[in-house]
């Protein structure tokens, strides 16, 4: 499995986790196009918090690297879609490996 597909799988696994808390009609689809917080997004602020924390946990389990997705240093843009979030996490992982 490539690093990128491992990353997407970790995010999908976090989506599975969050879907367990959501009503069926609000379930997130496991796709890189899935909207998170933009106008097409189904997540409210609490849902987004749960997703962020779940992704951080999955990334730590999968890559053995602790990342912080919310530190106040950026606006919400990385959380537009699953795809943009994956790109952002990929960048963070690269920064960590270069550090």
């Amino acid at each position: 499995m490539t690093k990128n597909s491992k990353l997407i799988q970790a995010i999908f696994s976090a989506i599975d986790e969050v879907n367990l808390q959501l009503p069926k009609e609000q379930h997130l689809e496991k796709s890189i196009e899935t909207g998170l917080v933009d106008t097409s997004g189904k997540l409210d602020s609490l849902g987004l918090i749960n997703l962020i924390v779940a992704i951080e946990q999955k990334i730590e389990e999968e890559f053995e690297v602790a990342i912080t997705l919310v530190d106040g240093s950026h606006n919400n843009s990385p959380f537009r879609t699953v795809g943009t979030l994956a790109d952002y996490i990929s960048l963070l992982l690269e920064e960590k490996s270069n550090a």
Binding site: L20, Q21, P23, K24, I49, N50, V53, E56
Partner: protein
């Protein structure tokens, strides 16, 4: 108890939405829909029952708080300030009395115990020091809460610490707290949901009453038919042998909670019984076993036959077998039977058994403690039945005594348990909590009698309930409930005799009963069809004109206690 989704009301001083999500989405019975009380308003919600948030008319509530938010002086303790234990206990008492308000608002209330995050070291080496350590004080607070809530029969304190232990390092996540004011990790909420669902199943009469066990490689190691009882693996200085003994001890302990044990095994019966009777390290004896089917027939069929012999329903059975093929066969053929996955490692047998979440009941009565003994008596009774000609002749040899009592403090718990657990001989399958039942009996025109049955083989305990609602010279039998333990022994007729006697005393005109069908209460309809009451299509009721006597069965001697 509702037949629709259970409605829950969640009152908390932290964001409890995640817990609500898991509770609503959990697929296990019963389905639940949750409403969440306004954030952080625990006390006002508990005190003011006129608040709009109560409009959902919940069946049960969960009141989940953090100790530092409802017990102010505990906050000082967390800041390592000295506060007298009396002051803290006084606050716990005040909070408890507010909590007690909820007992009239919902049928059931769950209160998770107070905990601190596992990473909080408190006073370190002094943390369990009497009246000083934070952990010590928190334990005292929980025990005081438990003492106080004991006065309410429908408030249940749940052990949060167990959920924390299972969740391990995921029990607390500071990030969830700072970002969302979520006090626990989601693993804790998932465990809480499992426990609450298990409790609700118990309250709705769906707890397991009978464990059916395989023998070879389940109760002991090896095939007794091949090895002989002298060579099976059981006890001794051997880790696997010890594990089998411990598993048997755990099973025997469950009989003290009123859980019955049965055996379904592919073996020669005489060989298997020899092992049970003669092996010196067998913990379980035939006196612990309610019944068995040991032969070479299909296990699923044997389970059906055993359950029928014991007058139980398949939904109250768990089947434990080391063989995955037998498990799959029973699972496929008898979907009502609970067949858990079972570990290959024998040293995990006991752990698997005692961690099962299928034995929850809202209370434990004296009848529960004696249940196995009662079923063993029943086995002897059945054996005596085969030696006597007609049913009536046999019943006359039993020397049955029936003690009739009205509902009172001493029989309330068992009466409620019987009302909520009985499925087969149950006219209306009305489920009620203790407080609901007491409230119903207090109403004008409402009467309820309980029936305790004993005979020369032993005491079957409180096994029958009949209740009556009188209006305009007519009496309606509301509950007609009889434990399967004594079905078919003329107790049914004795219960009707009691009601007709009362109706004659009160000069009523008629007594009637409406049978409400469920998937499980056909035996009740069969009894009413032969009860002597006349069925009328017009009212779809069974009717008895009171001027006519209803005979007391000759095999019954009544002991009345009004």
């Amino acid at each position: 108890m509702p037949k629709r989704n259970f409605r829950s009301f969640l009152i908390s001083d932290f964001t409890i939405n995640n817990f609500a999500g898991y509770l609503n989405n959990d697929n296990d019975f019963p389905p639940v829909s949750s409403t969440i009380a306004p954030f952080g308003q625990v006390i006002s919600v508990l005190i003011d029952k006129n608040l709009e948030c109560w409009n959902s008319d919940p069946d049960f509530a969960v009141i989940w708080t953090q100790p530092e938010s409802v017990i102010e002086s505990f906050n000082h303790i967390l800041n390592y300030k000295r506060v007298s234990i009396d002051e803290i206990i006084k606050e716990v008492d005040e909070y408890s009395s507010i909590l007690m308000n909820i007992q009239d608002k919902v049928n059931i209330a769950f209160v998770p115990t107070w905990v601190l995050p596992s990473y909080h070291r408190g006073f370190g080496v002094l943390d369990m020091k009497n009246r000083i350590g934070i952990a010590n004080i928190l334990m005292r607070m929980n025990l005081r809460l438990s003492d106080n809530l004991d006065k309410a029969s429908n408030i249940y304190l749940l052990n949060t610490q167990k959920w924390i232990e299972i969740a391990g390092s995921k029990a607390f996540n500071p990030k969830l707290w700072y970002l969302g004011k979520i006090a626990f990790g989601n693993e804790v909420f998932k465990e809480a949901v499992k426990d609450i669902k298990s409790a609700l199943r118990g309250f709705t009469g769906r707890s397991i009453k009978l464990i059916i066990l395989d023998l070879d490689d389940t109760l002991w190691g090896g095939i007794v038919g091949d090895l002989g009882w002298q060579n099976i693996k059981l006890g001794g200085h051997d880790p696997i042998g010890e594990a089998y003994v411990d598993f048997q001890k755990a099973l025997k302990s469950l009989t003290n909670r009123g859980i019955l044990l049965g055996i379904v095994s592919k073996n020669e019966e005489s060989v298997a019984l020899d092992a049970i009777n003669k092996h010196p390290e067998m913990v379980l004896g035939l006196e612990d076993i309610a019944g068995w089917k040991i032969n070479w027939h299909d296990k699923a069929q044997n389970i059906v036959d055993l359950v029928s012999d014991l007058n139980l329903g398949l939904q109250s059975v768990i089947f434990i077998d080391d063989n995955p093929v037998e498990r799959a066969r029973v699972r496929e053929t008898l979907p009502e039977v609970f067949v858990p996955e079972w570990p290959e490692d024998k040293m995990l047998y006991k752990r698997s058994l005692i961690s099962l979440r299928c034995f929850d009941t809202p209370s434990i009565s004296n009848e529960d403690f004696k249940r196995t003994k009662m079923y063993v008596s029943e086995r002897q009774r059945r054996s005596s039945r085969s030696q006597v000609g007609s049913l009536d002749e046999w019943l006359n040899t039993l020397k049955m005594k029936v003690k009739i009592e009205e509902l009172n403090e001493t029989n309330l718990q068992r009466t409620c348990q019987l009302l909520n657990k009985t499925n087969q001989m149950n006219l209306s399958t009305r489920r009620m909590t203790e407080s609901e039942l007491v409230g119903w009996v207090k109403q004008a025109g409402c009467k309820l009698w309980t029936f305790r049955v004993s005979d020369k083989f032993g005491d079957s305990g409180l096994t029958g309930i009949i209740s009556l609602e009188v209006e305009n010279k007519k009496g309606k039998i509301v509950d007609f409930v009889l434990s399967c333990r004594v079905m078919g022994r003329k107790i049914e007729e004795t219960m009707l005799y009691q009601v007709i006697q009362y109706a004659q005393f009160k000069q009523l005109d008629e007594i009637y009963a409406k049978y409400i069908p469920t998937p499980k209460n056909k035996p009740c309809l069969e009894f009413w069809n032969r009860s002597g009451f006349i069925y009328t299509e017009k009212d779809s009721s069974f009717i008895w004109k009171v001027k006519k006597d209803y005979a007391l069965p000759t095999c019954i001697q009544i002991d009345r206690k009004e």
